[in-house]
């Protein structure tokens, strides 16, 4: 039983990390209807920039703000150069453009900082918490717990930002209906700029945490692929959906890998989340928290 709980908790904690990446997707999808495939590339870019800056003997307290500025600028440029000219195009065109962007950002990151795998040390040890392993006989990583805490903090912050601030309200209005939002005087492009800036910030946080956990390497870009089933499970437009979806995917993925994986030769983590999401969507096609799809003729 304690083994089951250990796997479950480990899965839930890593699920929070997926949610962190999924949040970046949700934010942009909500505000501009773009499924931003380049989010994974941005996560990679952020982690690589941070590590690269540290190699110049900058202190982390200086490197993080600089990376943040770089990421926000990257987000703003993306909005200005890639998406503004493509306004009102079909969603698939926008999606393809972000895949192109992903190639570009990945290439740029590797050209600037080199492609070799690097370690990222945040001063957190990936070791079991002594108290828990002594008393409850479970291995729960300190790092995972901290990461989950950071994610929870971010989510609360974002939820408050969306519901309490002026910009947040404007953002929700834009998400609801671009034209109506424009008509009541919400500066659409400014809002999009903010959204992309925040997405850059989320990419930075995700990049630091994922980079610290798995090392800064090209595989970080695949994190975005892991976030996709989280997204569709939770519903594209929903912040709580990203969290709950992340928890479900994280937990079931680990449990399936541990209990079901050995029966079929392992490596099922690659497709299991997708299959789970597929089966779930058959029951509820708009995800858990997604907006009910009403189709009119």
């Amino acid at each position: 039983m304690s083994f089951f709980l250990e796997v479950l908790i480990g899965g839930l904690l890593s699920g929070v990390m997926y949610s962190l990446v999924a949040l970046g997707f949700v934010l942009i999808y909500k505000a501009s209807g773009v499924l931003n495939f380049a989010q994974g590339g941005m996560v990679f870019f952020a982690a690589l920039t941070y590590v690269g800056l540290l190699e110049f003997d900058l202190s982390p307290w200086l490197a993080i703000p600089i990376t943040l500025v770089v990421m926000v600028i990257l987000g703003l440029l993306t909005e200005r150069i890639v998406l503004r000219p493509l306004v009102n195009q079909p969603q698939i065109t926008l999606f393809m453009a972000t895949i192109g962007l992903a190639f570009f950002v990945e290439g740029l990151a590797q050209m600037m900082w080199g492609a070799n795998v690097r370690a990222l040390d945040l001063g957190l040890q990936d070791e079991p918490i002594a108290w828990v392993s002594d008393h409850l006989n479970m291995m729960i990583s300190k790092f995972d717990l901290t990461a989950a805490g950071v994610a929870a903090l971010l989510v609360t912050g974002l939820a408050l930002f969306f519901s309490r601030t002026r910009i947040g309200r404007a953002l929700r209005a834009v998400a609801d209906d671009h034209q109506a939002a424009l008509a009541v005087g919400i500066p659409l492009q400014q809002i999009w700029g903010i959204v992309w800036g925040v997405a850059g910030f989320l990419a930075l946080v995700a990049g630091l945490l994922w980079g610290a956990r798995n090392g800064v390497q090209f595989a970080l870009t695949f994190v975005a692929l892991k976030a996709l089933p989280v997204l569709i499970l939770g519903g594209f437009e929903s912040v709580p959906g990203a969290i709950v979806g992340g928890l479900i995917i994280g937990a079931t993925e680990k449990l399936a890998e541990v209990y079901f994986g050995p029966l079929v030769g392992g490596g099922i983590e690659g497709w299991f989340p997708y299959m789970l999401a597929l089966v779930f969507l058959l029951v509820r096609p708009e995800g858990i928290f997604g907006e009910k799809i009403i189709r009119r003729i």
């Binding site: 393809m96 290439g107 799809i293």
Partner: protein, 358 residues
């Protein structure tokens, strides 16, 4: 004036239903076919055959397959490469396990297997739409490639699922030389492209387009959604399966499941987006663009190295190519979101009026 169709009267139903109703189009197609069948085999070098023409044709076929599904039936799929993988591995197993199996029959049957699997993965499309569907097709992509790598039977228990394609022999003739392989691919691709062109203007094709434009409305006017969507998935997967088999047998030779990864799916998706969604011609144009772009980029890099003497390392050039690829795709989407096929249409309009401005 060049492209004037005035005076070309259709006097019979056959003429009215012709694939290319305009004489200039027919001449153009004839010229392209003559070039492809009679001129190319004598002009091109083996490098051009193996590195450009053969992959171009095979990927065009896959792009046609995806275009049937995405462009005509409106169901976005990110799992194209997986269906290609099914085609390749099915052909391998047919050739391996059925004695005396003719290769062309094996290709066709592997397309059929791919179509069956495609229908299974098409079932969710009856309930799931848009990006939700696109992400669920990723399930097909990862699951199928995983199956092919993990289940030894598919690759005859070779390590990590690598298969070596058997020799391609038709009626005693071995297709070994680049020209012969190119010609075989050309014949298969042109026949299947002709079939696709006819299919999309048939009853089935029109029902696909109705489903694409608005599925609720299509249902209301009496199109049955399930058969329409499932045939689209099946036929699309058939094309992808045959393309995958050709990719393994006539292009790569030795292939592992990982060769049919998500990158290949994305490349084929790029082809139809850049070529033109919902256009058979666009599939070819897009495939040509995506196949030639890396070749062109590496030529540019090589040129820069020799003339400007830029000391570019291997890593930097490959990253530069990646960036240029991404940037060019964004550029094309911004400049012409409807793809190269749309550019061709605009050119036709201009040619119709030339030399007058309007």
């Amino acid at each position: 004036m060049i492209y004037r169709e005035a005076g070309q009267f259709k006097t019979s139903y056959e003429a009215d239903a012709a694939i290319f109703p305009i004489r200039q189009d027919r001449i153009g197609i004839a010229v392209i076919l003559v070039l492809a069948y009679l001129v190319m085999p004598f002009v091109a070098t083996p490098y051009i055959f193996t590195a450009i023409l053969t992959p171009f044709l095979i990927l065009s076929l896959a792009a046609i397959g995806l275009n049937i599904l995405t462009g005509y039936c409106g169901q976005l799929s990110l799992g194209t490469a997986a269906f290609m993988a099914i085609g390749a591995f099915a052909s391998y197993n047919f050739m391996l396990r059925v004695p005396g199996m003719p290769i062309l029959v094996a290709f066709a049957l592997s397309g059929g297997i791919s179509a069956l699997v495609g229908m299974v993965f098409g079932l969710p499309s009856l309930r799931i739409r848009g990006f939700y569907l696109a992400v669920t097709t990723l399930a097909a992509q990862f699951f199928i490639v995983w199956c092919l790598a993990k289940i030894g039977w598919f690759s005859n228990y070779s390590s990590s699922g690598v298969i070596t394609a058997q020799e391609v022999t038709i009626l005693g003739y071995e297709f070994v030389s680049p020209e012969s392989r190119y010609l075989l691919v050309l014949v298969i691709v042109s026949l299947l492209a002709l079939a696709a062109k006819n299919l999309v203007r048939s009853n089935t094709g029109r029902s696909w387009m109705a489903v694409r434009d608005m599925d609720v409305a299509a249902e209301v006017i009496g199109i049955r959604l399930m058969p329409a969507k499932l045939t689209a998935f099946a036929i699309s997967s058939f094309y992808c399966g045959v393309a995958g088999a050709l990719y393994a047998y006539l292009y790569l030779g030795t292939v592992e499941p990982e060769a049919y990864n998500l990158d290949l799916s994305f490349r084929i998706l790029f082809m139809i987006i850049i070529g033109g969604v919902g256009s058979i011609l666009g599939s070819f144009l897009g495939s040509a663009f995506i196949t030639l772009l890396p070749v062109f980029l590496s030529l540019v890099v090589a040129f820069l190295e020799t003339t400007v003497h830029l000391p570019l390392s291997k890593a930097i050039t490959s990253n530069l190519e990646l960036m240029a690829f991404g940037a060019l795709i964004i550029f094309f989407l911004i400049v012409e979101p409807h793809g190269l096929a749309r550019l061709w249409q605009i050119a036709k309009e201009k040619l119709r009026l030339w030399p007058f401005p309007y």
